[in-house]
């Protein structure tokens, strides 16, 4: 159904605006599944996140073994890692990575196993979590987009990712969305 393509996105709490811009730009008919890690505390509330991402109609919190389906955007639940597992989502309770659980690196690394089918998007964030995973996606033949640090609330992560990945496409969130829609072979209505 998805043609083996998945978009994985990572950001920190300060990146919700950027994420909202990205998801709004993808539109409701975007044909590939999207899985997102937002750095969240263990008691973080999904309703708050859903409220902040009002541009997205089909936002779901991931459960273990949920089937990946097009037109749905899955958010990693608090205190679990989220992984892409062939045609499903998988959860893990492995130790936090760079103090983060859910971790962007863990999600991106699992997507890298898809090789050319993986698309990674790094949005506003602090810290290191996400850089290594983005490198893995690129190394295995996938694509990486990085939010233009000049447009990011927290610049550390996009800066580090852009520096580590010369081949990454650096764009503002809406620009990333437009590029993804073109890649997926459709025009936004």
């Amino acid at each position: 159904m998805t043609g083996g393509r998945v978009v994985v996105v990572g950001c920190s709490a300060g990146g919700l605006d950027a994420l909202d811009g990205l998801l709004g730009g993808l539109g409701e008919d975007f044909p590939w599944p999207v899985a997102v890690v937002i750095h969240r505390g263990a008691d973080s509330d999904f309703d708050m996140i859903r409220g902040a991402l009002s541009s997205c109609a089909r936002l779901l919190e991931a459960e273990d073994k949920t089937s990946l389906s097009a037109r749905a955007v899955f958010i990693a639940p608090p205190d679990y890692h989220l992984l892409i597992d062939e045609d499903r989502l998988a959860l893990s309770t492995e130790a936090p990575s760079h103090h983060a659980r859910p971790s962007i690196d863990v999600l991106f690394s699992s997507a890298a196993a898809l090789g050319g089918g993986a698309v990674g998007v790094i949005l506003s964030g602090g810290g290191k979590d996400g850089c290594a995973g983005a490198r893995e996606i690129a190394a295995r033949g996938g694509l990486v987009f990085v939010q233009d640090p000049a447009t990011a609330g927290s610049q550390d992560l996009p800066r580090a990712a852009a520096a580590a990945l010369p081949a990454a496409r650096v764009l503002p969130p809406k620009g990333i969305a437009r590029a993804l829609v073109l890649l997926a072979g459709g025009a936004k209505p």
Partner: protein, 278 residues
């Protein structure tokens, strides 16, 4: 001469060969574990052993039981915490304990207990509800080394603040600090908590049911199985429950997409608490 056609993903093939080798050599069957998390743990072991490939790890493991122990440790470690998901423990107090109280003798199975944090949490809860002496808790895991840690009941002092908070949020009735003494090694939990606990080795993926229980907790263990193995394990758990017995899963695990789900009905779907349909 035409080049040979190659198919599939070499890494996935190498992992499959490693798991086959482990099964044939040591009898541990990880072939139906969920691929993504298993891959991650295997690649971490490759790095920790200073090797360059999954195939190199396979070669070493087949020759060296010490290396196999390292892999087993990696695969079976699940990082847990005391009173993880306080809302769940609050629901346990509210919805399940009243049912347990109707029995003169209560059997509980904690399947996949890892280092024991949730077992001690359960013991504390049952103690506070006044029924611990009537309970027999069977805490099982696939890894003997991890069970040793669980038997000791010593957890990092640095975690106590978080655990105290979790315990309070779950409806804890006594100050959490009453349950442990601060030692050099860590927080040593009082031995009365494990008096009614039997820690023993059991492989949920392969072994048969061994008793009938009023409550089974299997939290964040089935996530490491693929759907086929999860279905089989759920069948085992259903068979191990007394009529109207309760099953509790982890906070983001769901019965609904699996085989074996129709043996259960929802008690509290949000907290992942189910009851065996009589």
């Amino acid at each position: 001469m035409r080049p040979l056609e190659a198919r599939g993903d070499p890494e996935r093939i190498a992992i499959g060969l490693l798991l086959e080798g482990v099964f044939q050599r040591y009898g541990y069957d990880f072939r139906d574990y969920a691929p993504a998390s298993l891959r991650r743990r295997i690649l971490a072991r490759v790095e920790e052993e200073g090797l360059a490939s999954v195939s190199a790890l396979q070669e070493r493991i087949l020759a060296d039981p010490g290396s196999m122990a390292g892999l087993l440790g990696k695969i079976s470690i699940s990082v847990t915490s005391m009173f993880r998901d306080p809302g769940f423990y609050a629901a346990l107090r509210r919805d399940i304990v009243p049912y347990l109280k109707t029995y003169p003798f209560i059997r509980v199975w904690h399947a996949g207990c890892a280092t024991g944090e949730e077992v001690y949490s359960l013991a504390i809860l049952l103690h506070e509800e006044g029924i611990l002496p009537r309970c027999r808790i069977y805490a099982t895991d696939i890894n003997e080394a991890v069970l040793e840690k669980a038997r000791a009941g010593i957890f990092p002092l640095s975690a106590m603040k978080q655990y105290t908070d979790n315990h309070l949020k779950s409806g804890g009735r006594r100050p959490f600090s009453e349950y442990y003494t601060a030692g050099y090694d860590g927080a040593i939990f009082h031995s009365f908590l494990r008096e009614n606990v039997v820690f023993s080795r059991h492989d949920l993926a392969r072994e048969a049911s061994f008793n009938e229980f009023n409550l089974i907790l299997c939290r964040n263990t089935l996530i490491y199985f693929n759907p086929k193995l999860q279905g089989r394990a759920l069948g085992l758990l259903a068979k191990s429950l007394a009529p109207n017995g309760y099953l509790a899963l982890g906070s983001r695990e769901s019965l609904h997409s699996c085989d074996g789900a129709d043996a259960f009905e929802d008690v509290d779907a949000r907290q992942r608490i189910y009851r065996r349909v009589a």
